[in-house]
Protein backbone atom coordinates (compact mmCIF):
# COMPACT_ATOMS: atom_id res chain seq x y z
CA UNK A 1 0.00 0.00 0.00
CA UNK A 2 2.75 2.40 0.98
CA UNK A 3 4.54 1.32 -2.18
CA UNK A 4 1.58 2.38 -4.31
CA UNK A 5 1.25 5.64 -2.37
CA UNK A 6 4.91 6.48 -2.79
CA UNK A 7 4.68 5.59 -6.48
CA UNK A 8 1.75 7.97 -6.92
CA UNK A 9 3.51 10.70 -4.95
CA UNK A 10 6.57 10.32 -7.15
CA UNK A 11 4.43 10.43 -10.29
CA UNK A 12 2.71 13.60 -9.06
CA UNK A 13 6.10 15.21 -8.36
CA UNK A 14 7.25 14.25 -11.84
CA UNK A 15 4.14 15.75 -13.42
CA UNK A 16 4.71 19.00 -11.57
CA UNK A 17 8.34 19.09 -12.67
CA UNK A 18 7.28 18.58 -16.28
CA UNK A 19 4.67 21.34 -16.09
CA UNK A 20 7.15 23.79 -14.62
CA UNK A 21 9.84 22.78 -17.10
CA UNK A 22 7.39 23.32 -19.96
CA UNK A 23 6.37 26.68 -18.56
CA UNK A 24 9.96 27.88 -18.23
CA UNK A 25 10.93 26.53 -21.62
CA UNK A 26 7.94 28.21 -23.24
CA UNK A 27 8.83 31.54 -21.65
CA UNK A 28 12.40 31.11 -22.76
CA UNK A 29 11.21 30.42 -26.29
CA UNK A 30 9.46 33.77 -26.20
CA UNK A 31 12.71 35.37 -25.01
CA UNK A 32 14.68 33.97 -27.91
CA UNK A 33 12.02 34.68 -30.54
CA UNK A 34 11.63 38.42 -30.70
CA UNK A 35 8.53 38.37 -32.89
CA UNK A 36 5.30 36.48 -32.61
CA UNK A 37 5.58 34.96 -36.08
CA UNK A 38 8.92 33.47 -35.02
CA UNK A 39 7.59 32.37 -31.65
CA UNK A 40 4.64 30.29 -32.85
CA UNK A 41 6.60 27.66 -34.84
CA UNK A 42 9.17 27.44 -32.05
CA UNK A 43 6.45 26.94 -29.46
CA UNK A 44 4.85 24.23 -31.62
CA UNK A 45 8.20 22.47 -31.94
CA UNK A 46 8.66 22.60 -28.17
CA UNK A 47 5.21 21.19 -27.62
CA UNK A 48 5.94 18.38 -30.07
CA UNK A 49 9.10 17.49 -28.17
CA UNK A 50 7.07 17.21 -24.97
CA UNK A 51 4.21 15.31 -26.63
CA UNK A 52 6.60 12.81 -28.22
CA UNK A 53 7.29 11.27 -24.79
CA UNK A 54 3.76 11.61 -23.50
CA UNK A 55 3.14 7.87 -23.13
CA UNK A 56 6.36 6.82 -21.43
CA UNK A 57 5.42 4.69 -18.41
CA UNK A 58 8.71 3.62 -16.81
CA UNK A 59 9.31 5.87 -13.84
CA UNK A 60 13.11 5.76 -14.01
CA UNK A 61 13.10 6.63 -17.71
CA UNK A 62 10.83 9.57 -16.97
CA UNK A 63 13.20 10.81 -14.28
CA UNK A 64 16.12 10.61 -16.67
CA UNK A 65 14.17 12.42 -19.39
CA UNK A 66 13.16 15.21 -17.03
CA UNK A 67 16.76 15.64 -15.84
CA UNK A 68 17.88 15.71 -19.47
CA UNK A 69 15.24 18.30 -20.34
CA UNK A 70 16.17 20.49 -17.37
CA UNK A 71 19.85 20.39 -18.28
CA UNK A 72 18.98 21.35 -21.87
CA UNK A 73 16.84 24.20 -20.61
CA UNK A 74 19.68 25.43 -18.39
CA UNK A 75 22.13 25.21 -21.24
CA UNK A 76 19.98 27.27 -23.63
CA UNK A 77 18.60 29.71 -21.12
CA UNK A 78 18.44 33.29 -22.38
CA UNK A 79 21.08 35.55 -20.79
CA UNK A 80 18.84 38.62 -20.73
CA UNK A 81 15.23 37.44 -20.40
CA UNK A 82 12.19 39.68 -20.53
CA UNK A 83 11.06 40.70 -17.06
CA UNK A 84 7.75 42.43 -16.42
CA UNK A 85 8.65 46.08 -15.56
CA UNK A 86 7.37 46.08 -11.98
CA UNK A 87 8.97 42.73 -11.04
CA UNK A 88 12.41 42.46 -9.41
CA UNK A 89 14.97 43.04 -12.14
CA UNK A 90 12.45 44.86 -14.32
CA UNK A 91 12.98 48.37 -15.64
CA UNK A 92 10.42 49.96 -13.30
CA UNK A 93 11.36 48.02 -10.18
CA UNK A 94 11.58 50.38 -7.14
CA UNK A 95 11.05 53.39 -9.39
CA UNK A 96 8.23 55.02 -7.52
CA UNK A 97 6.37 58.22 -8.37
CA UNK A 98 6.89 61.25 -6.16
CA UNK A 99 4.47 61.52 -3.26
CA UNK A 100 1.58 63.92 -3.89
CA UNK A 101 1.96 67.55 -2.87
CA UNK A 102 1.17 68.15 0.78
CA UNK A 103 2.83 65.00 2.01
CA UNK A 104 6.32 65.51 3.32
CA UNK A 105 8.82 63.15 4.79
CA UNK A 106 10.53 64.27 7.99
CA UNK A 107 14.05 62.94 8.01
CA UNK A 108 14.50 62.78 11.75
CA UNK A 109 16.03 59.40 12.05
CA UNK A 110 14.87 57.76 15.26
CA UNK A 111 14.57 61.07 17.11
CA UNK A 112 10.85 61.66 16.58
CA UNK A 113 8.82 62.84 19.56
CA UNK A 114 6.58 60.13 20.80
Amino acid sequence: MSGAASYLARRAAQKERVRILYRRALKDTLNWAVHRHLFYPDADALRERFDANKNVEDIETIDRMIADGESQYNKWRHPDPYIVPWAPGGSKFTRNPEPPAGIEIVYNYGREDH
Partner: protein, 127 residues
Protein backbone atom coordinates in the same frame (compact mmCIF):
# COMPACT_ATOMS: atom_id res chain seq x y z
CA UNK B 1 -28.37 90.67 -68.66
CA UNK B 2 -25.10 89.96 -66.85
CA UNK B 3 -26.59 90.68 -63.45
CA UNK B 4 -29.52 88.39 -64.22
CA UNK B 5 -27.12 85.61 -65.23
CA UNK B 6 -25.07 86.17 -62.09
CA UNK B 7 -28.14 86.01 -59.92
CA UNK B 8 -29.25 82.81 -61.65
CA UNK B 9 -25.85 81.17 -61.17
CA UNK B 10 -25.58 82.23 -57.57
CA UNK B 11 -29.06 80.90 -56.99
CA UNK B 12 -27.88 77.43 -57.98
CA UNK B 13 -24.33 77.33 -56.67
CA UNK B 14 -24.03 77.14 -52.94
CA UNK B 15 -20.80 77.34 -51.03
CA UNK B 16 -21.84 76.76 -47.44
CA UNK B 17 -18.60 77.83 -45.85
CA UNK B 18 -19.97 78.70 -42.44
CA UNK B 19 -22.26 75.69 -42.11
CA UNK B 20 -19.50 73.32 -43.20
CA UNK B 21 -17.04 74.85 -40.84
CA UNK B 22 -19.31 74.48 -37.87
CA UNK B 23 -19.95 70.84 -38.79
CA UNK B 24 -16.24 70.20 -38.84
CA UNK B 25 -15.73 71.75 -35.46
CA UNK B 26 -18.73 70.22 -33.76
CA UNK B 27 -17.51 66.61 -33.43
CA UNK B 28 -14.17 67.71 -32.05
CA UNK B 29 -15.86 69.77 -29.40
CA UNK B 30 -18.29 67.06 -28.32
CA UNK B 31 -15.43 64.53 -28.32
CA UNK B 32 -13.42 66.66 -25.96
CA UNK B 33 -16.27 67.19 -23.56
CA UNK B 34 -17.80 63.70 -23.48
CA UNK B 35 -14.85 61.33 -23.55
CA UNK B 36 -13.27 60.96 -20.15
CA UNK B 37 -9.63 60.08 -20.36
CA UNK B 38 -7.79 59.51 -17.18
CA UNK B 39 -4.24 60.82 -17.39
CA UNK B 40 -3.22 59.28 -14.10
CA UNK B 41 -2.03 55.77 -13.53
CA UNK B 42 -3.19 55.81 -9.95
CA UNK B 43 -6.24 53.92 -8.83
CA UNK B 44 -6.57 51.98 -12.05
CA UNK B 45 -7.49 48.70 -10.46
CA UNK B 46 -9.50 46.42 -12.71
CA UNK B 47 -13.14 45.77 -12.16
CA UNK B 48 -14.27 42.21 -11.67
CA UNK B 49 -16.51 42.15 -14.76
CA UNK B 50 -13.60 43.37 -16.86
CA UNK B 51 -11.32 40.64 -15.51
CA UNK B 52 -13.95 37.98 -16.18
CA UNK B 53 -14.57 39.20 -19.73
CA UNK B 54 -10.90 39.29 -20.64
CA UNK B 55 -10.12 35.89 -19.13
CA UNK B 56 -13.10 34.29 -20.86
CA UNK B 57 -11.97 35.84 -24.15
CA UNK B 58 -8.52 34.30 -23.73
CA UNK B 59 -9.91 30.87 -22.93
CA UNK B 60 -12.41 31.01 -25.79
CA UNK B 61 -9.73 31.94 -28.30
CA UNK B 62 -7.56 28.98 -27.31
CA UNK B 63 -7.54 26.72 -30.38
CA UNK B 64 -8.48 23.45 -28.64
CA UNK B 65 -11.41 24.90 -26.70
CA UNK B 66 -15.05 24.83 -27.72
CA UNK B 67 -16.10 28.47 -27.03
CA UNK B 68 -19.69 27.53 -26.16
CA UNK B 69 -18.53 25.52 -23.13
CA UNK B 70 -16.59 28.35 -21.51
CA UNK B 71 -18.10 29.79 -18.34
CA UNK B 72 -16.50 31.67 -15.41
CA UNK B 73 -16.46 28.48 -13.33
CA UNK B 74 -15.12 26.10 -15.95
CA UNK B 75 -12.25 23.74 -15.06
CA UNK B 76 -9.65 23.59 -17.82
CA UNK B 77 -8.85 19.90 -17.69
CA UNK B 78 -12.06 18.36 -16.36
CA UNK B 79 -14.59 20.40 -18.35
CA UNK B 80 -12.74 21.53 -21.44
CA UNK B 81 -10.78 18.35 -22.12
CA UNK B 82 -7.38 20.04 -22.14
CA UNK B 83 -4.19 18.50 -20.82
CA UNK B 84 -1.73 19.92 -18.32
CA UNK B 85 0.51 21.52 -20.94
CA UNK B 86 -2.49 23.33 -22.48
CA UNK B 87 -3.18 24.58 -18.98
CA UNK B 88 0.35 26.02 -18.85
CA UNK B 89 -0.21 27.75 -22.19
CA UNK B 90 -3.48 29.32 -21.05
CA UNK B 91 -1.90 30.64 -17.86
CA UNK B 92 0.92 32.13 -19.90
CA UNK B 93 -1.60 33.84 -22.17
CA UNK B 94 -3.36 35.25 -19.10
CA UNK B 95 -0.05 36.53 -17.74
CA UNK B 96 0.65 38.33 -21.00
CA UNK B 97 -2.84 39.78 -21.20
CA UNK B 98 -2.68 41.29 -17.71
CA UNK B 99 1.08 42.07 -17.79
CA UNK B 100 1.73 39.83 -14.82
CA UNK B 101 4.56 37.61 -13.77
CA UNK B 102 3.14 34.73 -11.77
CA UNK B 103 5.65 32.59 -9.87
CA UNK B 104 5.93 29.06 -11.28
CA UNK B 105 4.55 27.28 -8.24
CA UNK B 106 1.51 29.55 -8.03
CA UNK B 107 0.85 29.41 -11.75
CA UNK B 108 0.95 25.64 -11.50
CA UNK B 109 -1.97 25.67 -9.07
CA UNK B 110 -4.29 27.72 -11.28
CA UNK B 111 -6.36 25.11 -13.07
CA UNK B 112 -9.76 26.70 -13.59
CA UNK B 113 -11.34 29.93 -14.78
CA UNK B 114 -12.61 30.68 -11.27
CA UNK B 115 -9.12 30.47 -9.76
CA UNK B 116 -7.59 32.51 -12.58
CA UNK B 117 -10.21 35.24 -12.17
CA UNK B 118 -9.67 35.33 -8.42
CA UNK B 119 -5.89 35.48 -8.77
CA UNK B 120 -5.86 38.22 -11.39
CA UNK B 121 -8.52 40.28 -9.64
CA UNK B 122 -6.62 40.20 -6.36
CA UNK B 123 -3.25 40.91 -7.93
CA UNK B 124 -2.20 44.52 -7.25
CA UNK B 125 -0.25 44.94 -10.52
CA UNK B 126 -2.85 43.49 -12.90
CA UNK B 127 -3.69 45.94 -15.68
Amino acid sequence: MASALRAAILGHVRVPVVANGSKLLAPLWTHRTTSVRSMSSHDDHLEKTQVIDRILDIVKSFPKVDPSKVTPEVHFQKDLGLDSLDNVEIIMAIEEEFKLEIPDKEADKIDSCALAIEYVYNHPMAS
